[in-house]
């Protein structure tokens, strides 16, 4: 097995183990939550998260078909409603039918394939996107107490808004999601067929090159917020305005906080665009869907896959799309927060229901980005391979490097000229904080 893969997995396991048992050092009731409860609620959150993601995936597919139909003056699926009946229900049963049909199709393994990797590839393609769910904060981290008793376990939930609150969230996501490429490359190679092979080659080149730009373009975010912990990034955005929309902060008329935020937005908005476009490339979405480009490579890497294995690729692709949207929201659009203090403290006042409401707000924001992804898919032509590489290496990479330099200069300037302006901690403190976080 690939040593990097092993290493990444080991590291991941280490981190997860570390964070799952870790208790927030903040002075609240969390410190008293027994370890068993932490594990139990982590499990519950994982199950709910998986369920939500899988459900969202299938309905994202339906949304895609419906939105595309809307854009093309069509109706879209509208006959498939409640199972076993002929009640149409606006086609809401379509994902159920599609998924179950895929499950019961003949699982055919062509004779010319490399059997082991052929079967492994769809699993590799789908799991990374699902794993990354665990670090995305979808609601407040304030410990809440359930209004009812749970048998065998306590009813205090530590950190209800995230499955694993680790200090290197984005890095973890990049590390895991870059494993998706293994699934696709293996699928292309193991199929032992030419169209998938070309698709696999394309995707390996594409995803690896855009990962670089993607990773570099979020560094300004870390520099500004001074942390690599996703929930702290969200907290920062709640206090100082969303990174891509600095006006949306609790006190938008406070000049002292708005001015540095606006200046930083000059860097952060281009960074956001690079990150957005790279997300398109990372998730193999139009206009970058070269690995499976239907008109050229028939189905690309998944040409030889049918039935449930193909559905897994589908699932992985859409899960990656959802995760990219969630990451975009978390990094640049304030995560689950809204600029109202009462809303952000809902966990204290409403308990678990506040958490649910915040989660819904988060899902709404994510849906907005999903719709953006769909909208772009049905309106643009596809890039050509060399143009795609040019864009990644010749435009995005230098730009994001330049953005880091500009961002550092700006931060230094803000700190030097406007010590009174609350631009967060000083650069040195931040650097120490990041290093401390990572090395922990």
């Amino acid at each position: 097995m690939d040593p990097t893969l092993v290493h990444a997995l080991q590291h991941t396991l280490h981190l997860v183990a570390q964070t799952a048992v870790e208790v927030t050092p903040a002075a609240d009731t969390a410190a008293q939550v027994p370890l068993l409860d932490v594990a139990f609620y982590a499990m519950v959150k994982i199950l709910i998260g998986l369920g939500v993601i899988l459900g969202t995936v299938s309905y994202t597919v339906l949304a895609e078909r419906k939105v595309c139909a809307f854009m093309q003056d069509r109706v879209g699926p509208n006959r498939t409603g409640i199972p076993l009946t002929n009640i149409p229900m606006w086609g809401l049963g379509q994902p159920i039918a599609d998924a179950l049909k895929g499950l019961l199709k003949e699982q055919f393994t062509p004779n010319h394939t490399n059997r082991f990797f052929y079967i492994l590839a769809p699993m590799l393609a789908v799991s990374p996107a699902l794993i990354t769910v665990c670090v995305i904060p979808f609601a407040s981290l304030t410990t809440v107490t359930l209004p009812f008793e749970i048998p065998f376990f306590g009813n205090v939930i530590p950190k209800p808004g995230v499955i694993a609150d680790i200090n290197v969230g984005p890095v973890f996501i990049f590390a895991i999601s870059s494993l998706t490429v293994y699934g696709i490359v293996l699928a292309g190679w193991a199929s032992n067929s030419k169209f998938p092979f070309l698709g696999g080659i394309r995707s390996s080149a594409q995803m690896i090159s855009y990962e670089v730009a993607m990773g570099l373009s979020v560094i300004p975010v870390f520099m500004v917020t001074g942390t690599m912990n996703l929930s702290k990034i969200v907290d920062y955005q709640y206090q100082h305005g969303w990174l891509a929309l600095p006006f949306i902060s609790p006190n938008p008329l406070d000049f002292a906080t708005l001015l540095p935020a606006l200046m930083l937005a000059l860097v952060l908005i281009p960074a956001f665009f690079i990150f957005l476009v790279s997300s398109f490339a990372e998730t193999n979405r139009m206009p970058f869907d070269l690995p499976e480009s239907e008109q050229e490579l028939v189905g690309g890497y998944n040409t030889e896959y049918g039935g449930m294995r193909f559905a897994l690729f589908f699932l992985g692709e859409y899960a990656a799309l959802i995760m990219s949207s969630a990451l975009l929201v978390t990094l640049f659009f304030g995560g689950w927060t809204l600029p109202f203090e009462a809303y952000n403290n809902l966990a204290q006042s409403w308990g678990i229901f506040g958490i649910i409401l915040q989660t819904l707000v988060f899902i709404t924001k994510v849906t907005g980005f999903i719709l953006l992804f769909i909208w772009v898919r049905w309106s643009t032509p596809r890039f050509r391979y060399d143009a795609l590489m040019d864009l990644g290496w010749k435009v995005f990479l230098p730009t994001s490097l330049a953005l880091i330099v500009v961002c550092g200069t700006m931060l230094a300037g803000i700190q030097h000229f406007g010590g009174g302006l609350k631009a967060g901690a000083s650069a040195k403190e931040k650097a120490t904080a990041i290093v401390a976080d990572v090395s922990r």
Partner: protein, 173 residues
């Protein structure tokens, strides 16, 4: 298969009920998720595209997911004249589709050779593939294709989904 065999008090009845429900549910999802493999060969292909267009919108039946890879499709829509040069390629594509699979012969040429009684044209794909639905017309209007699709749905609803459908494939003629 369980039905027809005594296991307990009167398992025949119960088994049938269970299987009937299972059949119905499996058939329900099969009918509502038919992904076509558009085998666009000639004129009929244009009407096949038209049925995917805004006016007829085959997507209403959940059948707009035109997968060009046979491994991912359920219904082979043979739209157009199958020549002898193309015949074995068509058969191969059919063979690459995973079970359960169905075939729609769209138009006169695919059904019977149509107006092309000549040295180069296969006189109907039913000489090499088992066909489930024949659609008349040269080319059939998109409405006719949708009707054919609905007839196929009806046909699937009557199938025993729990048994493998072994359709005797016609010998190469």
């Amino acid at each position: 298969m369980v039905h027809g065999r005594e296991i307990a008090y009167n398992s025949k009845v119960e088994g049938n009920i269970i299987l009937a429900n299972l059949d119905a549910s499996i058939n329900w999802m099969r009918t509502h998720s038919m992904w076509p493999m558009p085998m666009g060969l000639a004129c009929c292909a244009i009407e096949l595209m038209a049925s995917g267009g805004a006016r007829f919108d085959i997507a209403r039946f959940g059948a707009e997911v035109m997968r060009f890879s046979p491994r991912q499709s359920d219904v082979l829509i043979v739209a157009g004249t199958v020549t002898y040069k193309m015949a074995l390629a068509t058969k191969r594509i059919y063979e690459q589709m995973p079970d359960p699979k169905w075939v729609i012969a769209m138009g006169a040429c695919a059904s019977s050779g149509g107006m092309y009684r000549s040295y180069a044209v296969l006189q109907g794909i039913d000489r090499i593939l088992p066909v489930d639905v024949y659609i008349s017309g040269c080319p059939p209007r998109p409405e006719a294709l949708l009707e054919g699709l609905m007839r196929l749905q009806q046909k699937i609803m009557t199938e025993k989904s729990t048994t493998r459908q072994l359709v005797p494939e016609p010998a190469l003629v």
